[in-house]
């Protein structure tokens, strides 16, 4: 204080503040009073990042290999060398275009987000040069004297030197929803606990205060928390890990087949350079060119669908993360609760009544016939300073804006719902005197005229802390009649008070007194300072308790999470009792589970003696958490299925998230305050609140709930799980035809037949006919209730597992190849080249100078005539793959159920896919058949049907596979055939 005194001048009550010159000096030294925004990645880096993810790398390597092959072939003077160049260019284009698309998608969500943060420049009332002036909050410096009043946002960390009835809402900092009173007294060593400091970004709810700025900008508590968030690294998303895993498999398979055939080719006396070209060809043929685009489009389709359900996804990959979530660490205030005080219970006539606390209440259904209620409602209505802002007649009561503190607002709305026109009632019962609530007497009273013209008595109404109110009462109203307040009644009061308090609710007591007409005539001068009216021997009317009630959709959502195997942990800065009460009411702690303390209380034994494993639930206080080792925390996280962490600090939230991640869980964290941002960042998926959320939270999060509703998370989980399943199907679909594209090349090398399908043709499958169908699989409905199974295990349930790869590559892929080869042999045979003639023909066939090769019938062919036939072969092979991909598409609709159970027509997009597939093939064959560069020819109609039996075989075979899987769960078949 001494160091401060020079600035105050002679009178402490009239501080002179800093001089403008000094303030400018300090401002220059410390910088403006604003949080440094998190380092945003430059757009170009973001853009480039889109192009080097797991998949893209695969394509880049493929493109590079193509160019190498091109280089070799050009040096050799091979005519078809340019195919490789084009292929490389196409691969590169695919990566770039997909990157642009993904970048655009994410930029779009970022823009939506940016629209939230329209910050109004904040003003602060500061004393400088001995006079008050309004300056922008950014101009504040350490040492400035500022004045704050109810409704203001605290412009910096401030040490109070004068406070009157000052209350602040620290929820954005600590998550505590209770208003905190502030005074000039130093009450605690910990700056977060002491009463004489008000923190930057919190709000002053009521009262006035003057204080000196002690920290500005990033030095403030909130600034330090925000910088804590930027220090937390971003983890790889589960889907990114899965895709990496998939790329490893594909690359491994490609390289091993490539090397295998390189050895075969060399031992078959091919030239080494040719063998290298083969090696590269095989590796590139294994690259699923279209998959990157498909996955990106599928994810963004889901992201779009989620956005419609109020989950805005910032990072496309986060779409799936929500689906694999196994633990949700949810903040309480605002997410689980409505973030507004609401009357939850009433006690009058010796009985507890429950009030409706839902968001949309329009009536209250408890018994309102008692005369006591009439009296209580009058006290509630009159002894209240809160008022609706005018001009909101058409707004639902619950949504109206109120001037006043949280409890009074709750009471006002409660009264308005039941009685209607509270303002009118107040007008008719004119207020004559009033003592507002203060922390010393802990009550509020007012004196009114009554609306009954015949009743000339004054009515004095009072509300306050229940025990203080009871002290002043000598009677109690039961069924509308005043009865003496004896011990029995007092005990009943105590029981009710304890019970409501135990529910974590804030309880208020109400009493009244009709002032006798003779003592207090019309003209009686009420004086609130001298209190010239009785304030004891009043009549107790009832209790009302309030709570920030859970959102009505939350209990259902929590139970859905439960059945989906997701553990919901509440992490809040609020008091344990309130936290536990809310946890119980939303089902985070289920009705029949107990904490260790509950068991101890029930058995009447000390807490230490209780077997910890008996308790399913646990409520952990932040203070306890502070003294815990990581092992102890792990133990709690493993042993208890229902956990509530109360009074936690931002660092502790981080510790809790890390603890969950140690259990191999995929952790989702929801939060809105700045205090949540480190945890949001640390989480596998951070979910910020769109309405209540602070910018820091939104920046740190991967997803934003536009309606702040926990229930939206459940839809998100559902979508996430569905997209994981559907991506599996998409990948299985895409991988299958890879074999049908690779086999021709292998047979070409080994059996030296004319090349069955060319590179360009393959590209037309991968990036042409197959794209829409594989995206269509993203629209597939779930096979069974995906919300009834456990979340996938991060390390065991892979996106692409052995079964999927083996079944696609070695079974369906092989059937497809056989079907396509049949078409190939048919085309050649019917033109005069029987299969046995084709064997070993390659060198002559490709000899540009050999213009009279004999076919099986003795006819002689020129090079071009053969080439054209080769293109016809390509087209037939292409068409056959397309036809069989239709069958593949249909079988991939389900992994376990029969197609008939799933319904062939439910997913219309699949049919769009099939039609597009066939239409593209028709256009390529008949429309562009004359463009020689594309290597397509108009194909005879019957060749379209050659592979049809194999398409049917694929379908039948897969139905049998699914049938056995359903019939014999857990069997050898199930283990090897279910992917």
């Amino acid at each position: 204080m001494e160091s401060l005194s020079p600035m105050f001048g002679p009178d402490l009550n009239f501080p002179r503040g800093l001089t403008s010159a000094r303030a400018a000096e300090i401002l220059a030294r410390d910088g403006p009073n604003a949080l440094t925004p998190p380092k945003s990645t430059p757009e170009i880096i973001k853009f480039l990042k889109q192009m080097v993810g797991g998949f893209s790398i695969l394509l880049w390597v493929g493109a590079l290999l193509c160019w190498i092959a091109f280089g070799i072939q050009v040096a050799q003077g091979v005519a078809s060398a340019f195919d490789n160049l084009y292929l490389g260019v196409v691969l590169a284009l695919v990566v770039i275009l997909t990157g642009i698309f993904a970048y655009y998608q994410e930029a779009k969500s970022t823009n939506i987000m940016a629209s939230f943060s329209k910050m109004i420049p904040q003003q602060a009332l500061v004393i400088r040069d001995g006079e008050k002036r309004e300056v922008s909050a950014e101009q504040l410096v350490v040492g400035d004297m500022v004045e704050i009043k109810g409704g203001d946002r605290i412009p910096a960390d401030i040490r109070l030197i004068f406070a009157q009835g000052c209350k602040v809402d620290n929820s954005s900092l600590t998550g505590e929803s209770e208003p905190q009173s502030r005074s000039c007294d130093f009450t605690h060593e910990n700056p977060l606990e002491t009463k004489n400091i008000a923190f930057y970004s919190t709000t002053c709810l009521e009262g006035t205060a003057t204080g000196m700025v002690i920290n500005t900008g990033d030095q403030t508590i909130i600034g330090r928390i925000a910088s804590l968030a930027s220090g937390v690294g971003n983890e790889k998303t589960p889907i990114a890990i899965e895709i990496e895993h998939f790329v490893h498999i594909v690359a491994g398979v490609a390289v091993s087949i490539g090397v295998l055939f390189f050895i075969i080719a060399v031992s078959m006396k091919y030239k080494v350079l040719d063998s290298i070209i083969f090696l590269i060809g095989i590796i590139v043929a294994n690259v699923p060119e279209g998959l990157l685009a498909t996955v990106t489009v599928s994810l963004s389709l889901t992201a779009k669908r989620m956005a419609k359900k109020n989950c805005l996804v910032k990072n496309l990959e986060a779409v799936e993360t929500l689906g694999s979530t196994s633990i949700i660490c949810s903040d309480k205030t605002g997410t689980l609760t409505q973030n507004r005080m609401t009357v939850a219970h009433l006690w009058f006539d010796d009985q507890i009544y429950s009030a409706d606390t839902s968001e949309e209440q329009t009536t209250q259904s408890f018994d309102q016939s008692s005369q006591s209620w009439a009296a209580l409602s009058k006290v509630v209505t009159l002894c209240n300073r809160a008022e609706f802002k005018p001009g909101q007649e058409n707004v639902p009561i619950m949504k109206r804006v109120v001037v006043g503190d949280a409890s009074e607002t709750a009471l006002l709305k409660f009264a308005e719902v039941i009685l209607g026109d509270v303002m009118g009632i107040r007008k008719r019962n004119r207020k004559l005197a009033e003592i507002p609530f203060n922390s010393t007497n802990k009550f509020q009273l007012s004196i009114h005229e009554t609306e009954d013209p015949n009743d000339k008595r004054f009515l004095m109404v009072m509300k306050g802390a229940p025990e203080r109110i009871l002290e002043r009462c000598s009677t109690i109203m039961i069924n509308g009649e005043e009865q003496p307040l004896d011990r029995e009644r007092a005990e009943a009061f105590q029981t009710a008070y304890m019970e409501l308090g135990g529910l974590g609710e804030r309880v208020l007591g109400f009493c009244h007194l009709y002032l006798p007409e003779d003592e207090f005539p019309d003209t009686y001068p009420f004086d609130t300072d001298s209190m010239n009216f009785p304030t004891s021997n009043l009549c107790f009317v009832g209790l009302l308790s309030m709570i920030d009630p859970p959102r009505s959709t939350v209990p259902d959502a929590v139970s859905k999470c439960r059945s989906a195997g997701i553990k919901v942990i509440m992490v809040t800065g609020d008091h344990p009792i309130t936290a536990k009460a809310i946890a119980k009411s939303v089902g985070i702690i289920s009705a029949n589970s107990e904490t260790v303390e509950d068991i101890a209380k029930r058995l009447n034994v000390p807490v230490e003696q209780v077997n910890k494993e008996d308790a399913r639930a646990a409520v952990i206080n932040g203070m306890e958490l502070k003294d815990m080792t990581t092992e102890q925390l792990d133990e709690i996280l493993i042993n208890h299925s229902e956990i509530v962490f109360a009074r936690t600090s931002p660092q502790q939230k981080l510790i809790i998230v890390e603890g969950c991640q140690r259990q191999d869980a995929v952790v989702a964290v929801t939060g809105d305050g700045v205090n949540d941002s480190p945890a949001l960042k640390k989480a596998d998926i951070g979910i910020a609140m769109g309405i209540a959320g602070s910018d820091a939270a939104k920046n740190a999060a991967d997803m934003i709930l536009l309606d702040d509703n926990f229930a939206s998370i459940v839809t998100g989980v559902e979508e996430g799980r569905l997209i994981f399943d559907n991506l599996k199907k998409t990948i299985a679909y895409t991988l299958t035809k890879n074999i049908a594209e690779l086999c021709p090349f292998l047979i070409y090398i080994i059996a030296s037949v004319p090349l069955p399908i060319g590179t360009i043709t393959i590209l037309f499958i991968d990036l042409g006919t197959d794209i829409i169908p594989s995206v269509a699989l993203a629209y597939e409905k779930a096979e069974s209730d995906i919300m009834n199974r456990r979340p996938r295990h991060k390390k065991k349930d892979r996106l692409v597992n052995e079964q999927l790869a083996v079944y696609s590559y070695l079974q369906i892929g092989i059937i497809q190849s056989i079907g396509a080869f049949l078409a190939y042999f048919t085309v050649y045979a019917e033109q005069g080249w029987l299969p046995n003639t084709l064997l070993g023909l390659r060198v002559n066939w490709e000899d540009d100078y050999y213009n009279d090769i004999e076919d099986s019938y003795g006819q002689e062919w020129t090079r071009y005539q053969r080439t054209y036939l080769q293109w016809t072969g390509y087209t037939a092979f292409f068409v056959s793959i397309t036809i069989q991909q239709v069958a593949d598409l249909i079988i991939r609709k389900t992994r376990r159920n029969s197609i008939f159970q799933q319904g062939l027509l439910r997913n219309k997009v699949i049919w769009v896919g099939i039609v597009s597939q066939i239409a593209i093939a028709l256009i390529l064959s008949y429309g562009l058949g004359s463009v020689t560069a594309l290597n397509f020819t108009p194909l005879r109609v019957q060749y379209w049907f050659v592979a049809m039996p194999y398409a049917i075989l694929i379908w039948v075979y897969d139905e049998i596979r699914k049938l056995f899987i359903r019939q014999y769960p857990g069997s050898w078949w199930d283990k090897n055939m279910y992917y």
Partner: protein
């Protein structure tokens, strides 16, 4: 009807077996890479090696690469069965395809509307067919002479003895199989029909004299009737008229393909058929200059203007004779 030769069935079987072994190899690879990919986490090298060893052989569960031995047997058996069935299905399909084919004529000939034309000797250089030689240097033209002799050896009297002499100037239609072993007759074409270019009188085909003989051959197409009743003939022209017009001598007379060599009934019906030939003797090739010559076969039904196919109905080559 045993078109599906034993050779091809053998191929199919080896394809099946080869495919099977490759696929089983792939299977092991897949399993391997699946596991390897899964192992790829932040671990120390020794931990990774340890994990890998456990994957290859896990003594606790008796698992070899993630499967017990019996499990490997089962999965192998399944794949063996699967591939046997698949190979069987494919063989059956190929067999029925063969059954549908006509052994004498292919189902479609739409790719062979007009025959290709080739040149002998067929020696290719950087820019296609090239007849470059030095008249005084035997080594430079000997390869052409050898090629021609080799080519014409199929046309000597012994090689042609199975064919009949034909004199008619009309198409030689044969409805039924009157030849030996249910075949159709083929007409004789002997090298002596090429007179000065037969290589009999002048065994060097005029190369050292600077008046070389080149042979033009037209590709066979089953049931193709060139010329619509008039015998198609060869006509060679120099590409550019910078030089004096070519003086040429065609053998047989007029450079025609006699109609009785047509139609061709296919390898099965006419196993001894040989293409009729036309020899062109270049009499006045400008020395020490490159001459581009195009020889066309002229006749109804023979097109030589396909922009994509340089050998359809014509053959183009370059000549340079040095002193």
């Amino acid at each position: 009807a045993v078109w599906a030769s034993v050779e091809f069935l053998g191929f199919l079987c080896s394809l099946g077996l080869g495919g099977l072994s490759v696929c089983l190899g792939c299977f092991v690879c897949l399993v391997f890479f699946e596991k390897m990919a899964a192992l790829n986490e932040k671990k120390t090298c020794s931990q990774r090696m340890e994990n890998f060893k456990r994957f290859v052989w896990n003594p606790d569960t008796g698992q070899l690469m993630g499967r017990t031995l019996i499990n490997w047997v089962w999965i192998s058996l399944y794949y063996v069965a699967f591939y046997i069935v698949m190979t069987g299905l494919f063989s059956l399909a190929i067999y029925s395809l063969m059954r549908t084919l006509n052994p004498y004529t292919p189902d479609y000939q739409d790719r062979l509307k007009s025959p290709g034309v080739t040149l002998r000797p067929d020696v290719y250089g950087e820019g296609g067919l090239e007849i470059y030689y030095n008249a005084s240097d035997k080594n430079s033209w000997e390869k052409y002479v050898t090629t021609l002799h080799k080519f014409l050896s199929a046309y000597n009297t012994t090689a042609q003895h199975a064919n009949i002499n034909c004199t008619s100037e009309k198409y030689f239609f044969q409805k039924s199989f009157l030849g030996p072993n249910k075949t159709k007759y083929s007409c004789k074409f002997t090298s002596d029909m090429l007179e000065n270019c037969s290589g009999l009188a002048n065994s060097t085909f005029g190369f050292p004299e600077g008046q070389p003989c080149l042979i033009i051959k037209m590709n066979r197409i089953i049931n193709f009737l060139p010329g619509n009743g008039t015998a198609p003939r060869v006509s060679c022209t120099a590409q550019h008229d910078d030089f004096s017009p070519l003086e040429l001598q065609y053998y047989p007379v007029n450079g025609t393909f006699n109609l009785h060599y047509f139609p061709y009934y296919g390898k099965k019906a006419q196993p001894t058929y040989s293409n009729p030939l036309v020899a062109v003797k270049f009499l006045n090739i400008t020395r020490n200059a490159e001459v581009t010559v195009v020889c066309r076969v002229i006749g109804t039904g023979i097109t030589s203007d396909n922009p994509h196919d340089p050998y359809e109905g014509k053959v183009e080559f370059k000549m340079r004779i040095q002193d």
